[in-house]
């Protein structure tokens, strides 16, 4: 693993005569380039252009500039659905970040100190992360079922029967179910990543600080946390992207409509619904405007997080 995580510089390739010629290199790259261009690059560039046209079904009409975007912000149901869904994506991000950087970081720190059962714990924490999010969503929908769902049964069994309720039927609780289930599923990733980062911190620093009388908390604040910053940055960016792209868990828990009453709606569901279920004649134009906004937001904000984290790292070292 360390082989992968620490690629050495391209030592040696600079020596002439050994590197691939441009022609040979092109031959090697070509299959991947063709596949990437046809199925990723071309559709992506085209998709961004779709939002500037008026569509009738699947027939492209004239260029309309930003009109589709104006529709999004002025006409119903988009005017209401867009901010509603967007706030839910932000909640997912914030919820997952809080969960990962408290419980996740705590678990990673504790795991770092033990040897017995360490692998067992890592496996347990990572398993939900690998299971299909759709399966996770459906599994929780069964567990939270109001009638004979095991969650309410447990609450009744331990004398908290008054807390038992239709978790997914109530708009007040439904979105929190989505947030908690998502955060629960993702925790294995930060546990592993923080674990790997903690392993990279030389023990001598901690020992030296300990001898100098630094308390555990001081050592954590002044040594561990700064050394973890790159890992926290990676987790933040990937969590942000994951939260903005959330689709299968909300779909399994609230259907494509984000039930109840849009309480579990998210941006990807709104995009999917607008493109494939709205029946509006300009479905492609409007949904492409949603996709473009989401694309720019995800791209821009991940760049911003990366830049901010890099700057924070530079300040520290």
């Amino acid at each position: 693993m360390s082989a992968i995580t620490t690629p050495r510089a391209r030592r040696g390739t600079a020596r002439s005569g050994i590197t691939l010629s441009r022609r040979a290199g092109m031959v090697f790259v070509l299959p991947a380039l063709v596949l990437f261009s046809i199925f990723i690059a071309y559709p992506l560039l085209t998709a961004l252009s779709y939002s500037f046209f008026d569509w009738t079904g699947i027939v492209r009409g004239g260029f309309v500039g930003l009109e589709n975007y104006v529709t999004l912000f002025t006409q119903l149901p988009y005017r209401d659905d867009l901010p509603n869904a967007f706030v839910h994506n932000l909640l997912l991000f914030v919820g997952a970040m809080v969960f990962q950087n408290t419980i996740g970081l705590g678990l990673a720190t504790l795991l770092h100190r033990i040897r017995r059962f360490k692998r067992f714990f890592q496996t347990m924490y990572t398993l939900p992360y690998l299971v299909s999010p759709l399966v996770i969503g459906y599994l929780w929908s069964l567990m939270l079922s109001p009638l004979f769902g095991p969650v309410n049964a447990v609450l009744r069994a331990i004398g908290l029967g008054e807390l038992a309720q239709p978790w997914l039927g109530n708009p007040q609780t439904a979105i929190w179910v989505v947030v908690v289930v998502t955060a629960w599923q993702w925790i294995g990733f930060p546990v592993l990543l923080y674990g790997a980062a903690l392993g990279g911190i030389p023990e001598e620093i901690d020992e030296a600080a300990s001898i100098d009388g630094a308390t555990a908390w001081q050592r954590f604040r002044a040594i561990t946390l700064p050394m973890l910053l790159p890992a926290i940055g990676t987790v933040s960016v990937l969590t942000f992207i994951g939260a903005m792209e959330a689709f299968p868990i909300p779909y399994a828990l609230g259907g494509s409509q984000g039930n109840p009453a849009g309480a579990t709606d998210v941006m990807s569901l709104l995009f999917y619904r607008t493109a494939f279920e709205s029946g509006s004649s300009n479905a492609i134009g409007t949904s492409s405007a949603i996709a473009t906004l989401l694309f720019l937001f995800i791209f821009g904000f991940s760049m911003l997080i990366t830049w901010y984290m890099r700057r924070a790292e530079r300040k520290l070292f």
Partner: protein, 300 residues
């Protein structure tokens, strides 16, 4: 189970830890703290795994039993819902489709990425650096938002509901991650290997095939195992690109199944378990590759 996981899940800290507290007072505090921390670790392990165990356990019970007693154990285990999910609910078809799509697309993306990664590691022109950057950008960009043009393109080619269409899409989607991991591996191989091969008269392809390929086997394993997971789990692409039920992969099959078998809890749990088993088996067999794939994003 821990024994099967033994090949280091975490190469992060092989150094010996614990048991070297400076004073007895600290030692006692450590014991108390140790108790609290292991409680926390076990408690969270339970929270993490209980829903999955419940899924397995309930898949072995009857629906009537679950309605009577939501928290019962599967005693004696009842396997009829598996038969029902497998045959009546078409899980056999979904399962075979999922296996086919996953295996073919992972092989495709690994093959093309190996070639490309080799070129990136063994060239130094700006052109290739740019191409590599473009490929890597696919790791960060929300490429699924390009689904509409993709849908029209496959529709025009008559490839909607065609598993090969899905395979090509997943093959392309695997390129960013696979190239990233493989290129960093190729870069660690000493250039002397190329020199020696060149002196022996090997051309670029022979050098790649006979000298480099055998040496990057661990990275190939990581890429194959790690790409298996998202492709197997993906729900978005088949939801839109597969319209014909006989071509459904497991995740889309499950959504249909949940509509039809709403009240048949036992069968629902069995279906969810069936979709999960291959991943759990893969994880237990290839923990090392999964973990290194997950932490590959660490390097910058």
């Amino acid at each position: 189970m821990t024994a099967t996981l033994a090949p280091d899940i975490s190469t992060d800290d092989s150094t010996d830890r614990g048991g070297s507290e400076p004073s007895r007072r600290a030692g006692r505090r450590a014991t108390l703290g140790g108790f609290a921390s292991s409680t926390f670790l076990w408690l969270y392990a339970a929270i993490s795994i209980a829903p999955l165990l419940l899924m397995l356990s309930n898949s072995l019970r009857t629906t009537q039993d679950m309605a009577r007693q939501p928290l019962g154990l599967p005693l004696p285990p009842n396997f009829t819902s598996y038969g029902k999910a497998w045959i009546t609910a078409s899980f056999d078809t979904y399962f075979v489709n999922s296996i086919f799509v996953t295996v073919a697309s992972v092989l495709l993306s690994t093959a093309v990425s190996l070639l490309a990664a080799y070129a990136f590691a063994r060239t130094k022109s700006k052109l290739f650096a740019t191409l590599e950057g473009v490929f890597l950008s696919g790791l960060m960009l929300p490429v699924y938002l390009a689904i509409l043009p993709l849908f029209f393109m496959l529709d025009a080619a008559g490839m909607i509901s065609n598993l090969w269409g899905l395979i090509l899409v997943y093959g392309a989607l695997g390129i960013p991650f696979s190239t990233f991991v493989l290129a960093s591996f190729f870069r660690q191989l000493p250039i002397e290997l190329d020199e020696a091969a060149r002196l022996d008269g090997a051309g670029p392809f022979a050098t790649f095939w006979r000298v480099h390929l055998p040496l990057v086997r661990p990275a190939i394993a990581t890429v194959i195992v790690f790409r298996f997971v998202p492709v197997w789990n993906d729900f978005f692409y088949p939801l839109i690109l597969i319209r014909d039920q006989s071509s459904y992969t497991l995740p889309v099959g499950i959504t249909r199944f949940f509509g039809e078998y709403q009240t048949d809890w036992a069968t629902l749990f069995a279906g969810l378990t069936l979709a999960t088993i291959p991943l759990v088996v893969l994880f237990l067999l290839a923990t090392k590759q999964i973990v290194s794939g997950l932490t590959a994003g660490m390097s910058k």
